[in-house]
């Protein structure tokens, strides 16, 4: 009996969203279109800044709330404060909501998922780079990047989406069952200090994406870091910088 429950649970979590969608009440296209029209720019086809501010207010959500990054991905928002009709309608439909109150509920669910589901977090994280980048630019300005890291990292760390992953350790000596400590919240501050102090102007897509991997796999003492491995050199330099930091830090403790 016990096994059956287990299998069911597994199935539940392993199943992609598809089958469950049927259970979600289908949202009304016309209602969503009406809502879109409500927020749409009067002299354009899309929702822009003013509309965005308005619907944030209606949804009682801070425009800088991390959940909006998830929403942006779901609604395929091409860049900040820009929402297309198609993305809006298809996105909300997929989430199964068509009214302000139900959208509020969807936002709660998305925020949870973003905080706790590593894969989903990564998708939103990677999407954020494309979404935040200025048109025609390959990299993200570091001001922007730091802003997004400031809202994404704490959320992921608190909810477990950024929980430490012990990288496939090659040596069998690694003690099984002993939890290795990973990224600490204050390291996020060090990272932003580092970016600012070194006057790093832009963050490349590769650095952005690899940074997430780095946060997930690095040990708290930066001991297992291999500077000759395929990390972007910005991260190499940060580790150098942070190692100085951990020394400072531990001497404070003693």
């Amino acid at each position: 009996k016990y096994k059956k429950v287990e299998i069911a649970v597994d199935a539940f979590y392993n199943e992609p969203v598809q089958p469950r969608q049927s259970s979600i009440p289908s949202a009304s296209t016309s209602k969503l279109n009406d809502l879109f029209n409500k927020y749409k720019d009067s002299d354009g086809d899309d929702i822009t800044i003013s509309g965005t501010m308005q619907f944030c207010q209606d949804l009682s959500v801070d425009p800088e709330d991390v959940v909006l990054l998830a929403v942006a991905m779901e609604l395929k928002s091409p860049r900040m404060c820009e929402w297309t009709r198609k993305g809006w309608v298809d996105g909300w439909k997929a989430l199964g909501v068509d009214t302000i109150p139900s959208m509020k509920g969807a936002l709660l669910r998305l925020r949870d998922k973003l905080g706790s589901d590593p894969e989903y977090f990564q998708k939103v994280y990677n999407y954020t780079f494309e979404f935040a980048r200025l048109p025609g630019q390959r990299s993200l300005s570091s001001d922007m990047a730091l802003g997004f890291w400031a809202i994404l990292l704490p959320h992921g760390l608190q909810g477990g989406a950024l929980a430490h992953i012990n990288p496939r350790s090659d040596d069998d000596d690694a003690m099984i069952g002993v939890e290795e400590e990973g990224w600490r919240e204050e390291y996020s501050d060090w990272w932003s200090e580092f970016i600012t102090e070194r006057n790093i102007k832009g963050v490349s897509k590769d650095t952005w994406q690899m940074f997430l991997e780095f946060v997930r796999t690095i040990d708290a003492k930066f001991e297992k870091y291999d500077p000759t491995a395929a990390w972007p050199s910005t991260i190499d330099e940060f580790v150098e910088y942070a190692k100085g930091g951990t020394v400072r830090f531990s001497s404070h403790l003693s």
Partner: protein
């Protein structure tokens, strides 16, 4: 006939019985064995042979004749056993008599007796063997074929009997025979003269006594090994261990090396003279162990001292000895490497010590110092270490270290290539003292010796290119052949790409010559007002390390027509090409007309522009000159300072410059064109900046080339491949390679393979 009859008189008839037959045979056998020197007549020998034959073939009439049916044995098969047993009996008896004599003999006397009896016995046994050929061929062979042990051909039987009844008897008394040989050898080792032939005879007999039961034709060394070789090796070990310890306690290592070398040679000789060649390996390795291995530590310790005092012969000896034992040379190679490195570093430190100004190392002195250390130690390698590859590697490693990093370079990896390039420049200039081609060629070869060790070959390349461009532009190169020779040396060392630009520079030079000529021709046809001698160099921007002037410049009216005519001429010849006029590299010659004596002033463009102003004025202010020439004040001030110093101009009031009407000089041609200080200093920084930029480009290009070929590659492999491909030009640093990877990722030449963290793919 009577003699013949009498000699066969006693001969038993065919079919005689064993007693009769053997009595006749035994007498003959004994005669051959003991009185061979008295001779045996042919007929006697033949009759003995016949009797033995007859007996062997007379089976039907004797003994077991009624068992004919059994296996169709021929006579010899049946009858042989009797003869064979009688022979054994004879040998046993014979040898018993011999051995009694030995009981009272010792050492040399024993050996002499043994050798003499051995000679006699084996000679006799040989005849006997032939006498019983028929027995050997039939009965013995048959018995052996059937696997019977202990039956041998008669000669072998004789040896077996000697061993059992004579040799063993002597040896059983405390290895009396082997002991005698060993004592004799020891006396020889102690320097006495011994009868080597005697030793050889006895030793040879021991080899003959070995017997391989399964194949008697095969040589077996069992007796030799057991009774002589092993005791001999043990004695050798003991002897040399004692000797070497005693010797070393009282003598120096160099003396010991000589002794050990001598001893090893002696032992080689010993094998040649009287031992079995199979003993060589064991003997020599034993000696090597006792004489070298057991004292290797002390030799290693003394190595440094020998190096310090250039004891070539001793070093050679030590090398030769230690090369005979496994891993004997490793510590020497390490010490040698250290030694060379230290010598190199000291040489440079000493040089720096002489100069107070650390930054002004004289390139020639520096290069000479490095070369001297290399030369000296390379000599040591070839003379004392026979050019052995391990020592060559040590030398190269040490040289690479001190050539790139020493007191003159500090932490900079670019200083050494810079100095070497400057030295090469000095060699290739007109004014250098090495007038003779051969010397110059030799000096260039020496530059290449150090070049081989330079890590940053690209830095050398940049400095060399810059210096070459100056030699060519100013026409101060010593000779085209020498230039070409140097380039071909560099090409040989680093490949076509490395010298491509250099060769292009020469092409530009010769094209420019043609261009000047054809322009002159054209001008002579079209204009008759050309009283300016004009020559031009048109140099490809990509091949020449030249910078366009940074300041504005008003082209003086006197040369403007020429400037325009050439520009036009060039445009019609090569439309679309852009000419940048490098006034800062140009030279001019001005003829003076305002003085009694006519002088020729050799000037830079700036100087020329200033002086031409005095065609219309005798005095000008700084500001007026700035306006007239458009040269920036800073540079103009330096230009004027040179002219004032040369007394062409007079500067009595501030910022006021007058033409000196009383100028005088001993020389007719006066060179005013000396480089401005700031320009010289800028050279090194400029060059290094170019090098840095080039490196970034080279690393990126290399990555792209590799990725294009491999499509996907892991990070570590990629880094290694990049290092491998670039390291002959310079040693790329890993962070620089990673930065290049970052850059290429961003530019989307490559990408990370999805789902992997450390694999890159080429983006077509």
């Amino acid at each position: 006939m009577t003699t013949a009859a009498s000699s066969t008189f006693n001969m038993p008839p065919p079919g005689a019985d064993l007693a009769t037959t053997w009595a006749y045979l035994e007498e003959g056998v004994d005669h051959i064995m003991t009185k061979l020197q008295t001779g045996v007549s042919y007929s006697k020998y033949m009759s003995l042979y016949t009797v033995a034959y007859n007996y062997c073939t007379s089976s039907k009439m004797h003994g077991q004749g009624d068992q004919v049916g059994l296996g169709q044995r021929t006579g010899a098969n049946l009858m042989g056993a009797d003869l064979y047993n009688n022979l054994i009996k004879y040998f046993v008896n014979h040898l018993r008599q011999l051995r009694e004599v030995t009981d009272t003999l010792q050492d040399e006397a024993l050996l002499t007796y043994y050798a003499q009896e051995w000679d006699r016995y084996t000679t006799g046994a040989n005849y006997i063997n032939r006498l019983f050929t028929y027995l050997n061929r039939h009965w013995v062979k048959r018995e052996r074929d059937e696997g019977r042990k202990g039956v041998y051909p008669v000669y072998t039987l004789a040896l077996v009997q000697w061993r059992q009844n004579f040799f063993t008897h002597i040896q059983n008394k405390n290895q009396k025979l082997a002991g005698a040989i060993l004592r004799l050898i020891e006396r020889q080792r102690n320097g006495e003269t011994i009868d080597q032939g005697l030793v050889k005879k006895v030793v040879d007999s021991l080899v003959s006594l070995g017997l391989d039961e399964s194949d008697i034709l095969k040589v077996s060394h069992e007796v030799y090994k057991e009774h002589f070789e092993q005791p001999f090796l043990d004695a050798t070990e003991k002897y040399y261990r004692k000797e070497s310890e005693t010797f070393l306690a009282e003598n120096s290592i160099p003396d010991y090396l000589k002794r050990a070398e001598e001893r090893l040679r002696e032992e080689e000789d010993r094998v040649e003279r009287y031992l079995n060649t199979n003993t060589r390996k064991g003997l020599i390795s034993k000696c090597e162990h006792v004489l070298i291995r057991e004292h290797a530590e002390r030799m290693w310790e003394s190595f440094q001292e020998l190096l310090d005092y250039d004891k070539d012969e001793d070093l050679q000896r030590m090398y030769a000895l230690l090369s005979r034992i496994p891993e004997g040379l490793d510590p020497l190679r390490k010490k040698f490497e250290e030694h060379v490195k230290k010598a190199g570093l000291n040489a440079v430190s000493k040089l720096i010590g002489q100069n107070d100004k650390e930054n002004d190392v004289d390139p020639k002195a520096y290069v000479d110092a490095l070369l001297e250390v290399h030369h000296k130690n390379a000599e040591t390698v070839s003379r004392s270490f026979r050019g052995e590859a391990g020592f060559v590697a040590s030398l190269d490693k040490a040289c690479r270290e001190f050539v790139n990093k020493n007191a003159a370079t500090g932490t900079s990896t670019t200083k050494s290539p810079e100095l070497l390039a400057k030295h090469a420049d000095a060699l290739l200039r007109k004014n250098n003292k090495m007038a003779e081609e051969e010397d110059l060629e030799g000096a260039l070869n020496k530059v290449m010796v150090l070049f081989k060790y330079i890590d940053d070959k690209d830095v050398f390349q940049s400095f060399y290119t810059t210096r070459l461009s100056k030699r060519l532009i100013h026409g101060v190169s010593a000779s085209d052949e020498a230039e070409a020779s140097m380039i071909s040396k560099l090409k040989e060392a680093c490949g076509f790409e490395y010298t491509n630009k250099l060769q292009r520079m020469f092409t530009d030079m010769s094209l420019s010559k043609d261009l000047t000529d054809s322009f002159k021709e054209r001008m002579q046809q079209n204009h008759d007002d050309m009283d300016i001698t004009f020559s031009i160099m048109v140099l490809g921007t990509n091949f020449w390390p030249l910078n366009a002037p940074t300041n504005e410049f008003v082209i003086p009216a006197d040369i403007l027509p020429t400037y325009q005519r050439f520009s036009q001429y060039y445009q019609t010849k090569h439309s679309g090409r852009k000419l940048t006029w490098l006034w800062n590299y140009s030279k001019n010659e001005l003829r003076t007309n305002y003085l009694n004596q006519k002088y020729i002033l050799m000037t830079s463009s700036w100087q020329m522009a200033v002086l031409l102003q005095y065609n219309d004025n005798d005095t000008l202010s700084l500001d007026e000159l700035v306006t007239a020439t458009n040269i920036s004040k800073d540079i103009l001030k330096q230009v004027l300072a040179t002219l004032v110093k040369a007394k062409i101009l007079i500067n009595e009031e501030t910022d006021q410059y007058d033409l000196n009407p009383n100028y005088k000089s001993k020389k007719i041609r006066i060179n005013l064109n000396t480089p401005i200080k700031a320009e010289q200093k800028a050279e090194a920084t400029d060059v290094l900046k170019t090098v840095d930029e080039d490196r970034k480009y080279v690393i990126q290009a290399t990555i792209v080339r590799i990725m294009k070929a491999r499509k996907t590659m892991k990070n570590q492999q990629l880094i290694q491949e990049v290092i491998a491909q670039i390291s002959q030009r310079f040693s790329p640093k890993i962070p620089d390679i990673k930065k290049a990877i970052d850059h290429l990722l961003e530019k989307e030449y490559i990408e990370r393979v999805d789902g992997t963290r450390d694999t890159f793919a080429y983006v077509a």
